[in-house]
């Protein structure tokens, strides 16, 4: 059995999700837009999942729209909100450590004439709300800030930032990419003061190919995909009932155990850090108060890709930086002050509450072995 420690990249679908998807494919296969009963049943399945997901983030179900995943949600948030509010307000503020689906979308909008301001952490590796507020202005249409950084697990002060921004500039639309925080930390849209929130199913033991965006009542977003006006015109295209049903089933299962899973993950993180604490060349890149589900360490002097493949040869799967960037050296780690050899040797270990201490012990042992055997 391989030891899968790359759960920030994707997770194994849970049995409930698989079952819900299969049921939607074998029994409930109508088109939600059809007027007959088969259509209504499919729509009810979609709306059932919508309600479950809404409840998990303290939102009204009418504010949840299904998309093909968080990348689409992030695109819709940035492109849609800047199209709706950016005619005379040409500035977009984001954190400098966003996922590529926010960063690259912002970069594209920059080419199209928007000014994009990227806020970095301070010397101490932490973000401060005032740094965001101070670059916002009457000319700003949108601020986007992720909840949990996907590479280090750092938790950004989204709630404080958005509250402060809204207080001084109520017109600014606030977007939070909650992908790595959802079902790991409590995510409540009202507490976050977020107008737009992106979620993904496959990071929470759902199925790949589906995500959601929360759009607060009264907030306008110009659709990116046009067509048959599904999802109230926000996201045209026949709803993927099986994937959506699976998303709902996974969210329902996980939401019941948020607190206890967090505690488990926290103790697993401590366990791993203890297990590697006496290895000289290992440095910990994740902050102590970060998400316990993501543990970023550096094996200084060993390139991460080589270590990754060595671990893989022993049946242990981890990631170098973020899996989405396919091994490119991460600018995000640099933002957090992790540079040069330390960045070259960065490994991201991402766990679930089902990860065992034995698996982490095995990882530590194989790391030691790798450090002995692997050169450069």
């Amino acid at each position: 059995m391989p030891v899968y420690l790359d759960n920030a990249a994707t997770t194994k679908p849970c049995a409930e999700a698989v079952e819900a998807a299969v049921r939607a494919m074998t029994e409930n296969y109508g088109n939600p837009s059809s007027l007959h009963r088969a259509g209504l049943d499919a729509q009810l399945a979609v709306d059932g999942a919508r309600k479950i997901i809404a409840d998990t983030i303290g939102a009204d179900p009418a504010c949840i729209y299904f998309t093909s995943g968080a990348t689409e949600s992030n695109n819709l948030a940035l492109r849609g909100a800047s199209a709706a509010y950016g005619r005379n307000r040409r500035k977009i503020v984001i954190s400098a450590v966003e996922h590529a689906s926010v960063e690259e979308t912002a970069a594209d909008l920059e080419k199209k004439g928007f000014e994009v301001v990227r806020v970095s952490p301070r010397e101490d590796g932490r973000f401060y709300p005032a740094d965001f507020v101070n670059v916002c202005g009457d000319d700003t249409c949108l601020i986007s800030c992720m909840l949990v950084n996907n590479e280090t697990g750092y938790i950004l002060p989204v709630k404080e930032t958005f509250s402060a921004v809204k207080r001084r500039f109520p017109h600014i639309i606030t977007h939070c990419d909650c992908v790595q925080g959802y079902m790991k930390l409590p995510v409540r849209v009202s507490a976050l003061n977020a107008d737009l929130v992106s979620l993904s199913a496959h990071k929470i033991h759902g199925v790949k190919g589906v995500g959601a965006i929360f759009i607060k009542k009264g907030v306008r977003v110009v659709p990116v995909v046009t067509g048959g006006k599904q999802e109230k015109g926000i996201r045209s295209g026949t709803e993927s009932v099986p994937l959506i049903a699976a998303f709902g089933a996974a969210a329902e299962k996980l939401s019941a155990t948020l607190d206890e899973r967090y505690k488990t993950a926290q103790s697993l993180k401590v366990h791993l850090l203890n297990a590697v604490s006496d290895i000289d060349c290992v440095e910990v890149n994740s902050p102590e108060d970060g998400s316990p589900y993501i543990i970023n360490i550096s094996v200084v002097g060993r390139r991460s890709e080589i270590m990754l493949h060595f671990l893989e040869s022993k049946g242990i799967y981890v990631s170098s930086g973020s899996a989405c960037s396919k091994g490119q050296q991460s600018g995000v780690l640099g933002q957090f002050g992790i540079r040069d050899k330390r960045a070259d040797g960065a490994l991201r270990i991402s766990i679930t509450a089902e990860t065992t201490e034995a698996e982490l012990d095995e990882l530590a042992a194989v790391l030691r072995e790798g450090i002995e055997k692997v050169r450069g």
Binding site: L35, R37, L40, D55, G58, D60, A62, P129, A130, V133, E160, S163, A164, R167, R168, P186, R188, S190, A191, K217, K232, D259
Partner: protein
């Protein structure tokens, strides 16, 4: 640092000897509404209710969002509890409001001292605390006219409180304090608004809806059920009655002149509604009618409809323009549901040229040409009830 939600009573604070009845009802409504969020202790004093969460993980912004929809409340806010010493008030103000104050530019301090035994007077508290905050947060300056942040200190009998927000409450009277009434809920824009307006005056709402399959669809009924669910945010639990209406509508079409279809249909609806209202203990009917909006809502038409009613009919939208009704529908978030495109029973068999000024005797004559009573009884017996509760 202890954070609570303070709830200021609305007009019931002005009530006399029966004030306690209203207070108890409001407290009960609040407790029921926030129960799903966790465990709380609610204490009432000086026309203010203090909601004290018993668990750190409770999200108070959700509490204020929910409580903001409860009738009987003038205003509410999240506040930090302080000892009744100026030192603690100062220390807690700095700690509790640090995030807010460090990002703001202008502020002022507002003090309310209802405990006159507190040694400092209100202007003194404002001056002293203001000075300390100015020193502590160099980014701030004082603006007494239009500050970004108003720091409020309340010195009450039991504790002192510091807060920097004031959320407007839903107003009105606690739901249930004025008895129960039956809302005719069609699925359109007006009837949910009418129900909401009467609930605001303390009326507990039950709802009645008429379905005519196959002329109306399951989706049309689901839409009305969604409206009911939405209204529970404001109105609390709602008993929803669904009346099978097809046979009556077909009988009207077969036996009455076309120009009277709508008025006779409405008279039959009222008849059924008041029979079910009587069973459910409702003392009045509520409709979303507005004078002149459609042919069945002219004064003459309303008079013909009213002629069958033996209990009061409340029409809170009667003097409102459509735009005013829509404004409320958006506020209470029923508009998007109401405008879903499914046909409801009111638009089945709509006459091409409805009578705008019907005469009661003509209507009665047309209606008496057929014995609707057996069908009315059958519809009442076939009515199904569902309960919608707070979520």
């Amino acid at each position: 640092m202890k954070e609570v939600v303070l709830v200021k009573y609305g007009e019931m604070a002005l009530k006399g000897l029966n004030k306690k009845t209203f207070e108890d009802m409001l407290t009960k409504n609040i407790k029921r509404r926030i129960k799903p969020l966790g465990s709380f202790v609610c204490t009432s004093a000086q026309s203010t209710l203090c909601i004290d969460p018993q668990d750190d993980s409770i999200d108070l912004s959700e509490v204020t969002e929910r409580v903001g929809k409860i009738f009987g409340i003038a205003a509410l806010c999240r506040a930090c509890v302080c000892d009744k010493t100026f030192e603690d008030i100062t220390a807690k103000s700095i700690e509790y409001l640090s995030d807010i104050l460090s990002c703001a530019r202008t502020f002022k301090v507002n003090a309310k001292r209802s405990d006159k035994a507190f040694p400092m007077k209100s202007p003194e508290i404002c001056r002293e605390l203001g000075g300390i905050l100015l020193d502590r947060f160099p980014n701030l300056s004082v603006d007494v006219n239009d500050p970004e942040i108003t720091v409020t200190v309340e010195v009450r009998d039991t504790n002192a409180y510091v807060h920097a927000e004031n959320i407007k409450g839903a107003g009105g009277l606690p739901v249930g304090s004025s008895g129960k009434a039956m809302l005719l809920l069609s699925g359109g824009i007006d009837s949910p608004v009418a129900g909401w307006m009467m609930a605001k005056r303390g009326i507990h709402i039950a709802a009645i809806h008429y379905v005519s399959p196959p002329y109306t669809s399951d989706r049309a009924q689901l839409k009305v059920e969604q409206l009911c669910q939405k209204l529970t945010d404001w109105c609390g639990g709602i008993a929803f009655y669904c009346v099978p209406f097809t046979e009556l509508q077909e009988a009207i079409k077969d036996n009455c002149p076309e120009e009277f279809f709508t008025i006779i249909m409405r008279r039959l609806m009222m008849e059924i509604a008041q029979r079910i209202a009587a069973k459910d203990g409702c003392l009045a009917l509520i409709t979303g009618e507005s004078v002149g909006q459609v042919a069945s809502q002219t004064m003459a038409a309303i008079a013909c409809t009213d002629a069958v009613c033996r209990i009061p009919v409340f029409r809170p939208c009667i003097g409102m323009d459509k735009t005013e009704i829509i404004e409320i529908a958006r506020k209470i978030d029923t508009f998007d549901i109401s405008t879903l495109p499914y046909e409801d029973c009111c638009t089945v068999f709509t006459p091409r040229h409805p009578k705008v000024r019907p005469r009661l005797e003509d209507i009665e004559k047309a209606q008496n040409s057929f014995d609707f009573e057996p069908l009315i009884q059958k519809a009442v017996e076939g009515t199904e009830m569902k309960t919608f509760n707070l979520e």
